[in-house]
Amino acid sequence: MTETVNLVKSLADKYGRYHESLLPILQGVVQEEKYLSEEAMVEVARELDISAARVFGTASFYSFLNTKPMGEYVIRVCKTITCMMHGKNIIIQELEKNLKIRVGETSHDGKFTLLETNCLGQCHKGPAMLINDTPYTDLTLEKIRDIIQSLKKGDLVGSISNPLN
């Protein structure tokens, strides 16, 4: 048995094999493997005796259940109306220029993934984005360049000066 098969099995043992076990199991897989592979989804379907397409459909609904391999730093820029009005498109442009990838892509070195997401609850401080679990708000082009620079140098996300504080 592969590692993924074992992982799904142990998650199913932990959360049960009911329909409502689906989300916690998927979250558990993402926590361990960063994304849901085809193999993982088929195993989840097998354990819960539901269709694999259904597992995929559920996963694709939630922004945080990745269905593609992700980079070390997952950048999610809010695309909802307030942030949009506060220049989210320009922020994205700057990110794309600095990272040399487009929205939805992962950089060749596997370091960055750039995504859009729905409202992060920071509307009053838009534009906002999330890098892994850390929110960044009141973004400007300079801030973007700083953040990306330090991440490229290998500083930990948490240690970059965070405009929230």
Partner: protein, 595 residues
Amino acid sequence: MNRVNLNIDSIQVSVAQGTTLLNAAKELKIKIPTLCHHEDLCVAGNCRVCVVEQVGSDRLLPACATPVSEGMEIRTNSLKVRNARKTVIDLLVSEHRADCTRCFKNGNCELQQLSSEYLIGEDSYIDLVSLKEYTIDYFSPSIIKDDSKCIRCQRCVRTCDELQAIGALTVAYKGEDMKISSFFEKPMYEVICTNCGQCVNRCPTGALVEHNYIDEVWAAISNPNKHVVVQTAPAVRIALGEALGMPPGNIVTGKMVGALRRMGFNSVLDTDFTADLTIIEEGNELLQRLKSVLVDKNPDVHLPMTTSCSPGWVKYIEHMYPDYLPNLSTAKSPQQMFGALAKTYYAKKMNIEPEDMVSVSVMPCTAKKYEANRPEMHSSGYKDVDLVLTTRELAKMIQQAGIGFESLENEEFDSFMGVSSGAGVIFGATGGVMEAALRTAYEVVTGREVPFKGLNITPVRGMDEVKEATIKIEDALPEWDFLNGVELKTCIAHGLANAKIVMDKVKNGEASYHFIEIMACPGGCLGGGGQPIPTNAAIRQQRSDAIYREDTGKPIRKSHENPEIIKLYKEFLKKPLGHKSHELLHTSYTERNRY
């Protein structure tokens, strides 16, 4: 049961508690439009085209999802209702690639019908089609899935979940990106979809349609160097009339034969003939398996044996219960037996080179298209069945040919491979294969007819989801005396959701059947995915009644008494399960992925 009184469009009505507004209105012959609603499926309430007004309330109610309550005053045709419905349809159309003139569903499309009823004009909403990247999946030989025609009513998803327990289709993504998708958006032919076509039969638009081969068949017919043979499945003759304007339940065998001849097919033959042949091969296989298990104690032979004539079921078990592939009868379906014989036995007797033959079949089924394209179906040295049409495609061709179907004289199938017994006919109904097999197997073993009045094995008939029947074998002929006293346990399921129930029982050791009949479609082939639209419980029942009428009216009722079958064995096959049979009439299966 408690009655509820309400008022619909100023008419007082009393209906059973729990009735929906939609059905209450129906009782008054008031038609409320629907899109996501289908009688075979659970309520979804997502399209909102069925809205009605409740006097005194601001919000409109979805009629399909609202149960009646005492004293309600409902308006189904107020200005507010009409405007709301029109807006709903208009919005759907604004995201819909409405090129009706090029659409297979043109003339038989619920969205088109409603747009015409509600006079959806031009340019009311911005046309979003050009802004969306829709996917069209043409790769399956059975089904075309065109997302640009999808209104996301989810009938297909519910069909595949509820009736078939497969879940090949799901709702993926959200908001404006929401779409109906297979696992990881893979093409339909790469996923667990069994090609049963039940979703195709229920899709209100052209988003799911059969892959049609109408032009290819016309081209073959008009090629003077080709001899085109056509075979027609048992369930086509009792439903074809519906697609040509006749009421359900008509048996149109003779007219269908006449129409096929007029269209220019060179030989008009009958799949019922090979249905009889399937019974001989499969019945003997069952007896041989019983002997191997009960007498020789051979650990490599498996019971229960399950039928293998429904290609949707075959593909389902290949995906979902691969451990049970040895339980599947190795007998090919009647369509494929026919194809293999057409290009060997028939070609030889008729002095036709098999490469000059085009073998066409007309089926109630979209899965048969996939089956004919399986790589192993080349036993004749050629593709055994070249082109497969659904009942609907044949109806379309008859219309194209300008044939006045209802006024056609009844004609007879060509001979040979055109004669069939009543047992072959009932193949088209759930329980029919079991009944046909028992009529033959019982007689082989005991030398007597099955102990049922008029050969009608009623316990295996009807629309119950899972049926069980036991036949006790007594006074067997000497060769079969090991079966003396054996209670032959059989089980019948139709619709793959019911197949799953049966297979889980077998898997968990909760059932000890000898023989299981499974048909992928509700009601059996008569409710197949390629049958006329609409198909629902009432129509399935009418088609079923017609099938049993056709059986009763046949002079020969048992497969082994079909004179052409007897001749086929004498001249060509020699004996059931013999060398030639194995070469042409039996097949093998492949384990497939679980998505």
